[in-house]
Symmetry: C2
Subunit: 189 residues, 2 copies
């Protein structure tokens, strides 16, 4: 998606450790006009597919998911990262490694909000190692829900997550795919 | 706001310890159509006020803030709850008690996204003890930004946060104000 790629070129900063900082418009300050354009692009890409709910994960997926949900006309459910071990029995949960904070988080969703009849679009801001997206896929599986596909804002295509998840037969639509990046330069696929 | 009060009556559940569970439409599953109506109501309430940015806090404020931001035509910044002590020098930060997880969280915002020229609307899903909202007010103060007011979805008016924050001269517009609640009943102001 041209508009997102141009924004990344203009405002993105590549930092040490394969970090792409896009916090001026994507995941700290958020440009909701851009999010609406992204939502319309996913509507176009997934046209013909029946989707009744968007599933995302806190925190930075939530804004993109909510604006996209308006374009699809469906509700959003966000999976919560729980730092308590005190999990009630009425949730689906997976363990996911936390790259930001270290260690492992329990990622949970109430059983009331993921149903076997659900046809889900998964939304997240980044796809790199794929841990977050695989967590959402596992939660959907526990509920018996159908994953129609995943809408990702920025995929680091040089990391293994995208390949591994597509190999499972999951359709992944990333609006900006980065082939390579280094100090001061970003190359898109 | 009638629509929100009716939704709380219909789907809200009062649990032990003054907990109001509204997770079917507000802060776990999210009804973005309702959020848009809430956003339009805040636009009406704050009409005539100059607002150039919405400030909220992760995680459950983000969805409401993003949809409201579309109605206002402004960007959103969300304050992050950091569980690392490893905070870089380029952020404003406050300590806020965490009722969900216990202990204290550092709540941070990048200095790049809160400016002295900003005229902020603060948005959050709940106002009870006021700790989260006071944290946002303090972050705005550190930046020298102006707080035009706060838009809250649900205020527990029987808890002290709302009174304390209004006493500081901050305008708080809560779309549903709960006077009292108990098993199976909710009374609005």
């Amino acid at each position: 998606m041209k508009e997102l790629e141009e924004r990344i070129r203009r405002e993105g900063a590549v930092e040490d450790g394969d970090v792409l900082k896009v916090d001026s418009f994507l995941n700290h300050q958020m440009d909701v006009g851009l999010f609406a354009a992204m939502g319309r692009e996913w509507v176009r890409l997934f046209s013909g597919e029946e989707i009744n709910k968007i599933l995302t994960i806190e925190a930075s997926g939530i804004g993109i998911a909510c604006i996209a949900a308006q374009e699809f006309g469906v509700p959003v459910v966000f999976a919560k990262k729980s730092r308590t071990k005190n999990i009630a029995g009425d949730v689906y949960h997976v363990e996911a490694p936390s790259f930001t904070h270290g260690g492992v988080s329990d990622v949970i969703v109430s059983k009331r909000f993921l149903l076997p009849t659900d046809r889900l679009l998964l939304i997240d801001d980044f796809l790199a190692n794929g841990a977050a997206l695989e967590g959402l896929i596992e939660l959907a599986k526990q509920a018996g829900a159908t994953v129609v596909g995943a809408g990702i804002a920025v995929e680091k295509a040089f990391q293994p997550g995208g390949k591994r998840i597509r190999a499972k037969g999951i359709r992944v639509e990333s609006l900006a795919k980065i082939k390579a990046m280094g100090k001061g330069q970003i190359e898109f696929c």
